[in-house]
Every structure is written in C-alpha cells, then in structure tokens.
Subunit: 311 residues, 2 copies
C-alpha cells in the first residue's frame, strides 16, 4: 500500500520539497534552487530529479508513493493547467501532466496561496475545520479558499485572489495588477508601511516610528508600545481587512479565517484589530467565524501540495 | 432503476413542487398552500402527502425515485439542518431527516437562493458551466454560489448571502439584517426604487418618473426611454453591483454570473450596466466571466432542489 507522498512548493528563488507519510507526518524536507533562466524550462526536470534521487536514497518505490503535489506562484486551475507564472518565466501549459510524465507518478497542481491554505487546514491553524479562508499577508496579499475540505481553484485559477478585491475608490496609485484600490495596497507588509509613512508625512505628531525604516514590523512593534500614530495605522488596517473578510464571508461563510505571511509574525494583536471590524461589518449568520494565526510558516506550501494528492 | 426525482420549493405563501425525470425533464408541476400557523408544523407533512399522492396518481413506486430535494428560505447547511426560517415559523431542526422520515425516500435540503442557483446551472442561464454565481434581484438580494457543480451552503448555511455584503460606509438607514450599507439596500427592487426617489427629491430635474410609483420597473422603463435621471440611477446600480460582483470573483473566480429575480425582467440592459463596472473593478484574471439572465423564473427552485438529490 502506498504510504508516502511528496509536496513541492516552487518559489521565485528556491523550490521547497517535503516527503510525507500519508497521515501528514513530515519525514524529510529540503530545498533546491529555482532556475528561472530560459523560460523556467529546467524547473520541473530539477524537481523530478530531486524527488527520484530522494526515493532512491530512501529505498522508496514508485508504488509506495500516492502522488506528488506541486504549488507554484501563478493562476493554476483545477485541471493543473498554469496560466503564466511571471516570476518563473512560465507560459501556459499543464503543470500536472508535464511533471507526471517526468516522474511517472500521479501529480496534482495548484496555486501556491491556495495550496498553503490547504496545508494550514490539514496540519496548521485551520486544523479540524473544512471551511477555511487563509489570508497571507506578505509583500502582497494572497488568499486561499477551502470549501468542505476542497481547494477552490476557480475557473481560470484566480480563486482566492482576494488581495485584488477593490476596497478604496479614492486611490490614485495603481496596484501591481494595474487596478486602483486593491486590498493588498493597504494590508500587505508594503501597504502597512505605506499607510504609516503617509500618516508620518501628513502630521508633526511625535512617534517612535520617526527615524526608523517604517517597515510593517516597525509599525506593529510601535502598536505594541502604544504609539498613537501606529495605533491609527492598526485601526485602519483592521477596518480595511475586517471589512474585506466580512465580504468574503457573505460568499462562502467559512468556519475560520487563518492569517499567515510575514506580517502575521506580529501575533494575535493583528487578529484583535481584524475581529473588531469583522464583527461590525459581517452578516449576522457569519459572525461566528473564528480567526487564528497560521502555524506552518514556510512549510504550509509543502504540506498543502502533499495534501492535494490525498483528496 | 430509479428514473424520477422531486423538487420542492417552500415559499412564504405557497409550496411549489415538481416531478422530474433524472435527465432534467419536468414532467409535472403544481402548488400547495404553505401553512405557517403553529410554527410551520404542518408544512412538511403537507409536502409529504402531496408527493405520495402524486406518486400514487402516476403509479410511481418508492424504488423509482432517486430522492426528493427541498429548498426553503433560511440558512440551511450542507447536512440539511435549517437554522430558523423566520417566514415559515421554523426553528432549528434537520429538514432533511424530518422529511426523509415522513417519505421514506432520500432527501436533500438547501437554502432557496442557493438551490435556485443550482437550478439555473442545471437547466437555465448557467447551463453548461460548473462555476456559477447567481444573483437574485427581488425585494431583497439573494445569491447562490456553485463551485465545480456543487452548491456552497457555507458552514452555517449563510453561503451566498451576498445581499448583505457591506458596500457603503455612509449609509444611515439600517438594512433588514440590522447592518448599514448592505448591497441589497441599493440593487434590490426596493433599493432601486429608493435610489430613484432620493434623486427625484434632491433635484427639480424633469423626469418621466415624476408622478409614477417609482417602482424598479418604472425606473428601468425610464432608462430604456433615455430619461436622464433614470440613467443616473442605472449607472449607480451598475457601479455598486459591478463592484460587488468583482469582489465575489476574487473569492471564487466564476465562469458566469446569472442575474435573476423580478428586477431581471428589465432584460439585458441590466447586464450592460453591471458589466461596464465589473470590467473596471475586476482582477485581470477574473475579467473573462460571462453575464447572463436567468431563464427558469419561478421554477428555478424546483429544478435546483431536484438536482440536489442527483449530485
């Protein structure tokens, strides 16, 4: 009986790989560099080589492996077709089929943020729940939607692209996506830093942030110290993200929101601000939703992609 | 082999019932009154009697019936538990199990708006698609979310409650749900009428709407005549609903939006206004979504509930 599976998380600079038992125990994890040169042609052969080498090393046969799951940064639909992954140099092709051919092992593929949500549902902050929204607050804002235990890839792989929900009509600076006023312009690490810098520039108020780099971490540290200007930023962060979470809830009515990404290192204070406004804006029937911090950190991707082949 | 199924749509005044072949052909439809007295106790026994009578009449045996699907106005989770249906007098109980016991036939249950979406996906405006959002513009605004052919009930039956998405921070009048600034306060029949009345009161502009009842129908008729004030209302309608549809799309990335309910009788002009703003606010990866009018009218509920037992 097949007792192993692999999870692969392709990033812009490294590929993370994990060997799992099907019950979710992580037996081994390692990384290889992502070779993006030449349209990212070498990425999948490198991944396949690395997995086959690991199998040889551990004496694992093909029939012992349920499958290999792979997550990558780009829109990927439920059939495993990727529609351009700009950071990797990839165009449109079946990620699932191509890796399957290289490995001769069943493959499933998904968008990295969606897959991370699946990982957090399986063994992280959303464990025990089947209806989970993961919100990843990093340089940008990613999202993953899990409905009754299954990842919502969306019809063109754009399911969970909540970082590009329109939340501000007044914005004059474009988002990376080309639109104006996207969620990630305010609540990502970059967004939090920008909001704080704007507030600093707009007043003479004293603040512990003056003279710092004003990173998102600086802002949350200042919030914890009770800095008045940082507290204003935190309220604004909570208002914008709490309201967006309430909008998401009217669509899929989740049991739990899991907050991850670099910004989530600020800890539970983040959740206090989000919850405050979530409760204000959420539909009555959705107010029972829980909020938790992600637990798997950078491993969410390998957990989630491994889980993909167990569904 | 079982070749029949029933669809039941419980409304506040009448219960609609339909007998279907499993391929979706509607063989018979009829109505019975909804007896809401005494906590709605009589509703399910009445439904069961009516179905059993129809089976006798047509010589259909229990083994010929795949199941009976039932939709009702209230939050109903994927297990078929209803959490209070105020209009029917119902509290919290397993709608699925109770009707199943009365009929001795498998039963599935869902919220009426969600079930209508499933019906439109099966045999209506969304036919041929598996990722469908239905937006029902009636007295209120209902919604139904279909992901890969399956209805998203949500963890407490509030999946698709998009009528209560917060869209306006400035609102001072409460929505029926108790919140302020919900989508249905603007784009429902009531909302459209209110927006028009406010515009009429705020200016002396001539308008064909002056002297009418200013119903939603009056407004769309005036839009078709090119009435300047009505055109302003239509733009506002399109801006609010197009933006909300764009928000929904970042969550589940549908193939198609199906617009139903009484307001949708205005026809394709409605879609022109929604699309205009959807294209403005939608994330690039979601812009390919189609918009169509619902086709099944009041029969969407019986189609969808019948489809529930075929999944």
């Amino acid at each position: 009986m097949a007792t192993y599976c692999f999870g692969v998380d392709v990033g812009g600079t490294t590929v993370k790989l994990g060997l799992f038992r099907v019950d979710g125990e992580l037996l081994d994890k390692w990384e290889i560099p992502t070779v993006t040169a030449d349209g990212g042609k070498q990425i999948l052969p490198d991944v396949a080589d690395s997995i086959l080498k690991k199998m040889e090393e551990r004496g694992i046969e093909r029939e012992d492996v349920v499958g290999v799951g792979i997550g990558a940064p780009g829109p990927i639909d439920s059939e495993g077709t990727v529609y351009k992954a700009v950071n990797l140099g990839w165009g449109i092709f079946s990620l699932k089929k191509e890796l399957q051919t290289l490995l001769n092992i069943p493959v499933e593929a998904g968008n990295d943020a969606n897959v991370a949500a699946l990982g957090e549902m399986w063994k992280g902050g959303g464990q025990g729940y089947g209806n989970v929204i993961m919100i990843t607050l990093g340089t940008g804002v990613g999202g993953g939607i899990i409905v009754e235990g299954k990842m919502v890839a969306g019809s063109t792989g754009a399911g969970g692209e909540i970082g590009h929900m329109h939340v501000n009509d007044e914005e004059t600076i474009p988002c990376n996506c080309g639109n104006y006023g996207c969620l990630e312009q305010y609540v990502s690490a970059t967004g939090i830093s920008c909001m704080a810098k704007e507030k600093l520039a707009a007043s003479d108020k004293s603040s512990v942030l003056r003279g710092t780099e004003v990173t998102a971490k600086d802002v949350w540290d200042a919030v914890k110290e009770g800095d008045a200007l940082a507290l204003e930023v935190a309220e604004e962060f909570g208002r914008i993200l709490g309201k967006a979470a309430a909008s998401i809830a009217t669509v899929v009515n989740p049991e739990i929101f899991v907050i991850g990404g670099g910004v989530s290192k600020a800890g539970s204070i983040l959740i206090d601000y989000i919850q405050k406004y979530y409760q204000k804006y959420a539909f009555t029937g959705c107010r029972g939703a829980l909020f938790a911090l992600a637990k798997l950190g950078n491993d969410a991707g390998i957990y989630g992609s491994a889980k993909l082949v167990l569904e």
